[in-house]
Subunit: 189 residues, 2 copies
């Protein structure tokens, strides 16, 4: 997706250690028009897969997942990271490490919203180590729903996420793939 | 907004204590098509106000704010609640109580994304006590940007949020207003 590559080169910040700061257009400030086009791009990759639900993780997954959901005309479920009074105690639950926060976080999904009848596409902003998306895939499997594929806005290929997701044996699509971020550069595949 | 009132009566759960559970279509599972129409509805209320930026708070504010941003063709900034490696230490910051989580949470906005040139509309999912929206309004004022108004998807009029926001002297619009939630009922204005 050329528009997104150009935007990453213009406004993304390589902070070292494999951290790409896209706060100015993707996950603190959101360029809504770009996000709509990202949603359409990812939706087009799964257009023939009869997806009927999107699963993502709060927080930064919500915007791209919502626009994929709008493009496909289907609902989005976002896994919550903090228990609240409205979440049932028997919810699906996984622990995953947060890269940018340096802690473990929970992913929590109420059982009502993932059923064996669902065909689920998992969407997130980044595919890096793949641990968050792997946890979402595992929750889909546990629910008995059909896992259709994985979609990410930005894949950092050098962190091995795609290999981690290989055992699920479903298509993995990214709007852009970054091959390396060494020496302050950002090199796309 | 009749469609949203009907949906709240069909799928919302009055959990007592003024807590309305709308997890099935608004803030755990999101009905994307409904959210687009909510965004258009709130956008229409501020169509003549030359808004050029939306400010919201993660997590549940993101979806409605994004669709208002899409409808108006402008960017959305969502205040972060947890410090991460990508947030500058001089960011704007306020503490607010979280009703459903029973704790205090931070709202953090990087200075780069709110400037004196901006005309800012604050959007959130709920207007209840108004403390979150008040904190966002205060951040807008601190940034020197022009505060244009407040918009919420669901206002719980009996919690006094509108009175709390009155000192800002800007329009406050809600897609639906709930007058009372006593005795297991949901009564709209």
């Amino acid at each position: 997706m050329k528009e997104l590559k150009d935007r990453i080169l213009t406004d993304g910040k390589n902070m070292g250690g494999g951290i790409l700061n896209v706060n100015s257009f993707l996950n603190h400030q959101v360029d809504c028009r770009l996000m709509v086009r990202i949603g359409q791009e990812l939706a087009s990759r799964f257009a023939s897969d009869e997806v009927d639900k999107i699963l993502t993780a709060e927080i930064s997954g919500i915007a791209p997942a919502l626009e994929v959901g709008v493009a496909l005309g289907i609902p989005v479920v976002f896994a919550r990271k903090i228990w609240s009074l409205t979440m049932p105690p028997d919810s699906f639950e996984r622990m995953v490490p947060s890269r940018t926060k340096g802690t473990m976080v929970q992913l929590i999904v109420a059982r009502d919203f993932l059923t064996p009848e669902d065909r689920v596409l998992v969407i997130d902003d980044f595919l890096a180590t793949g641990k968050t998306i792997e946890a979402l895939g595992t929750i889909v499997k546990e629910s008995g729903a059909q896992l259709v594929g994985f979609g990410a806005v930005i894949e950092k290929a050098f962190e091995g996420g795609r290999q981690r997701l290989a055992p699920f044996d479903v298509p993995t699509e990214s709007a852009v793939i970054i091959e390396s971020m060494e020496d302050d550069k950002i090199v796309f595949r």
